[in-house]
């Protein structure tokens, strides 16, 4: 909107244009400013109160630790990421697979959905000792843990999506003599896509949480250990800067996973789904 355009507008519209512009800028500037202010305040509090580094390190120290310990931290991050992505992939396969199975018959869904809910509502930390007894392989343990946490939103959302197909479209497929497989492939799976992608966004974050929690309770140590073990180690050694650096990495990873999955979702849905339309306007 240029100034010339504004001249032609009546006061009400001009006000609206101004407000929209403020909102557009404010959406980015405001959170950023608050974030910078918070970090600055954090730094000041450390200085003003002379807080020792092993209790609360200054932001600059955390940053330099991130740089100095990069080798250690990033190799740990890779280990955690591997578990995260593998479990997310398994959650997608398991969640969608089960949802498709559930969609075949109301009876199957009614019979087996309670099991999924039981798995979902029982805290993973409480289940872990059992997994520890039954499973030997360390990676398998972690994967199983992260999977249990991550698969439910995908299963639940995809099931909802597969069952939310327009009645008339179902009739249309029936009229044209579509097979069960054709109906699934050309109608129900595409219709469930927005629901699935919604579940995927949630599961992405959960699989990271699942992976970190699993590492915590598994208490993995040694070279092939993930970020959680680095945090535990750092905690024992009162190495607060490294603890903060590891935490920072974990949340950054979580944000990145969310953004990537949001982007994928937007790219897939942008042409047809309501949820993606608003962003275009």
């Amino acid at each position: 909107m240029t100034a010339i355009d504004e001249l032609k507008l009546d006061p009400e519209e001009a006000r609206r244009v101004r407000q929209e512009r403020f909102e557009r800028i404010g959406r980015w500037v405001l959170p950023l400013a608050i974030m910078i202010l918070a970090i600055w305040l954090w730094d000041r509090i450390c200085v003003w109160n002379a807080i020792p580094q092993y209790i609360l390190p200054r932001p600059g120290v955390v940053l330099s630790t991130l740089y100095n310990d990069a080798g250690l931290l990033f190799s740990a991050l890779l280990v955690t990421l591997r578990i995260t992505f593998l479990s997310l992939v398994l959650a997608v396969i398991g969640g969608v697979g089960l949802a498709v199975l559930f969609a075949q018959s109301k009876w199957v869904e009614m019979s087996f959905f309670p099991f999924a809910i039981v798995l979902q509502v029982t805290p993973i930390v409480a289940i872990f000792p059992l997994i520890n007894i039954y499973v030997d392989n360390q990676t398998t343990k972690l994967l199983l843990c992260a999977w249990i946490v991550a698969f439910f939103p995908i299963l639940s959302n995809t099931t909802l999506g597969l069952n939310s197909v327009d009645r008339n479209l179902r009739d249309l497929f029936k009229l044209n003599g579509a097979t069960r497989w054709q109906q699934l492939r050309y109608l129900r799976l595409p219709a469930a896509m927005p629901y699935f992608l919604g579940g995927l966004k949630i599961a992405g974050g959960l699989s990271l949480i699942g992976a970190v929690v699993a590492e915590f309770v598994a208490g993995t140590t040694g070279q092939s250990s993930g970020l959680a073990s680095r945090i535990i180690e750092a905690g024992y050694r009162l190495n607060a800067p490294r603890l903060f650096a590891a935490l920072f990495l974990i949340s950054l990873t979580g944000i990145l996973i969310f953004l990537v999955l949001s982007l994928i979702s937007h790219l897939i849905l942008r042409r047809w789904h309501e949820s993606a339309l608003k962003q275009e306007r």
């Binding site: 327009d166 008339n168 479209l169 009739d171 249309l172 497929f173 029936k174 009229l175 044209n176 003599g177 579509a178 054709q182 050309y186 109608l187 595409p190 896509m193 042409r271 047809w272 789904h273 339309l277």
Partner: protein, 274 residues
């Protein structure tokens, strides 16, 4: 009145029977009698409208004909026996009912795709059909980029792409504005005259049924039943001149009177019943 071609309308009267409904009734599991003892003969090439108030079972009748539902009593007799292959039925719903993620082209491809015909093989038929409904150039658009009228055109193209012998339409233009509806009525008639398929058209609009059909079957509610039938003898093609002609007005008046009687008969039955 209108241009010649008078021969066409009478010809329909002697056309062979395509489908006969004999004593057809439908009772839903909740005890509602949707249709009761319906006798109706549909002839080859008919443009038959089912006209009636809501709840008179017009849509139920259409679903029975489509084979989407089975009658509780009576028979549907397709040309003296057997049921018509589903490939020979096209269905247009009240809503456009398109796949929102698929392009216009792929939406029209769907019935052929379900029969295992590849995109390339189906392409000529799809392109031709899209031209027939005046949608050339919109092949790659997705439904949400189209207006309501255009979506309905896609829906009609999809129903017609298999070259069905019967086109069933369930209040297809009810949600459209009048200008769009008139245009679609004209285009539908044009298509029908070229191909001479049979149409069963459900509507609650007197004007639409009279404009389009050679037969208007008026239905009454509670229970859903055939109340009366009107032959619309006006010749085809029918166009804007017909729409504003005194003949059309008189026919609408006639149909409207029958419809009022049908509604009143229901009101009477309603009072008697309680």
């Amino acid at each position: 009145m209108i241009r010649e071609k008078v021969a066409q309308a009478p010809a329909l009267d002697v056309a062979p029977t395509l489908l006969a409904l004999r004593g057809v009734g439908k009772v839903f599991s909740n005890g509602v009698t949707a249709l009761s003892d319906v006798d109706l003969t549909i002839r080859e090439g008919d443009f038959l409208s089912l006209l009636g108030p809501s709840g008179c079972g017009k849509s139920t009748a259409l679903r029975l004909i489509a084979g989407l539902s089975t009658p509780t009593s009576g028979v549907l007799d397709w040309r003296g026996g057997g049921s018509l292959d589903r490939a020979n039925i096209g269905f247009v719903f009240q809503e456009p009912t398109l796949l929102p993620w698929a392009s216009v082209f792929d939406n029209v491809w769907l019935p052929l795709r379900l029969k295992g015909i590849s995109r390339a093989k189906a392409a000529p038929a799809i392109t031709e059909m899209l031209a027939r409904v005046h949608l050339t150039g919109f092949e790659h658009a997705v439904p949400r980029e189209l207006s309501g009228g255009m979506k309905m055109r896609v829906s009609i193209a999809r129903a017609m792409v298999t070259k069905p012998r019967v086109l069933l339409m369930d209040e297809p233009f009810a949600a459209l504005d009048e200008i769009t509806r008139f245009k679609l009525n004209d285009d539908l008639l044009e298509l029908w005259q070229d191909e001479r398929f049979t149409v069963v058209f459900v509507t609650h609009s007197v004007f639409e049924s009279v404009f389009l059909s050679n037969r208007v079957v008026v239905m009454a509610a509670r229970p859903g039943r055939v109340f009366d039938e009107l032959a619309i003898k006006a010749s085809y093609p029918r166009d804007e001149a017909f729409r504003t002609s005194p003949d059309y007005a008189a026919l609408c008046r006639q149909a409207s009177d029958v419809l009022v009687n049908a509604i009143n008969s229901t009101a009477g039955a309603h009072h008697d019943g309680h």
